[in-house]
């Protein structure tokens, strides 16, 4: 399960190129909208990171299932789950921050209990719990299994979160301005910006996932070998080179 080097390089360069394109488009080429003025430019960053946070979690959940099923059980799935969770939590955090930044000028407040933001905040908390569980020392298989189950339980929670928070919102909010609502009918320029954002951030996500997965693999190998490496180091210290 190794991604060929040329592919990762392509992902990385692609991400950078599209990020540049997206930024240029979003900040200069794209015009302001009637409803939100300049702030709709945040379309290019906020929806993509929000979606990618869910993608991250989805990959974690899927990899967890594959690990739990005896027929497909491989350590690689556990490593992928962990890597995807960490990349996902970064995107989740960005969702909350960009959502807050977007909300401040539009709604006047830094935070509002908008259904989507609240659900995203809960997702963030779920991610953090999972990552905390990953760091707890335990034998490889025990930890992997625990984490896999935790990921699935958390996954079950997500649709419930969504129903609960959206019903909660319609109950309490008189007229909440959905950040994206005024932009339901986007013109081409904004659609292009949105698409560029998705591509740029999507490629970035993929590139980060590949590298983070590699780090996870290295860490696993390090854990496996830690004892023998330490012993070797000690023994090497004892060996004295005698000049001939």
């Amino acid at each position: 399960m190794t991604t060929p080097r040329w592919l990762t390089k392509a992902l990385g360069l692609g991400a950078l190129a599209f990020a540049l394109a997206a930024a240029i488009d979003g900040l200069w080429v794209m015009g302001p909208t009637a409803e939100q003025g300049d702030y709709s430019r945040l379309l290019v960053v906020h929806p993509p990171v929000a979606t990618l946070a869910y993608v991250g979690f989805g990959i974690t959940a899927l990899a967890s299932v594959l690990y739990l099923l005896p027929r497909t059980r491989r350590r690689e799935w556990d490593l992928l789950a962990g890597a995807s969770a960490e990349v996902g939590v970064v995107f989740c955090g960005l969702t909350l921050v960009t959502g807050s930044i977007w909300g401040r000028p539009v709604w006047g407040v830094w935070w509002t209990w908008d259904a989507r933001l609240t659900a995203e905040a809960l997702l963030f908390a779920l991610f953090l719990g999972y990552l905390a569980l990953r760091r707890v020392p335990a034998s490889e298989h025990v930890r992997a299994r625990r984490c896999a189950i935790a990921a699935l339980i958390a996954c079950l929670d997500i649709p419930i979160d969504h129903y609960a928070t959206s019903w909660w919102q319609t109950l309490h909010q008189g007229s909440s301005i959905d950040l994206l609502q005024p932009d339901k009918h986007l013109d081409t320029a904004h659609n292009i910006g949105l698409a560029l954002g998705f591509v740029a951030l999507g490629l970035a996500f993929a590139w980060l996932l590949v590298h983070r997965y590699r780090v996870e693999k290295l860490e696993a190998r390090y854990e496996d070998e830690a004892l023998s490496l330490a012993l070797e180091a000690r023994q090497a210290e004892g060996r004295v080179e005698v000049p001939v």
Partner: protein
């Protein structure tokens, strides 16, 4: 517009920083493993 710049800045900046961190972690780990395992 400052909010917009902040939004873009935070997003791309945070991702760049995270990328550097992941790469650095990888490099450090590879150094500790015996050469044949790299």
């Amino acid at each position: 517009m400052s909010y917009v710049y902040a939004g873009y800045g935070v997003t791309f900046g945070a991702l760049a920083l995270y990328a550097l961190r992941v790469l650095a972690r990888g490099r450090a780990l590879r150094r500790t493993l015996p050469p044949d395992e790299r």
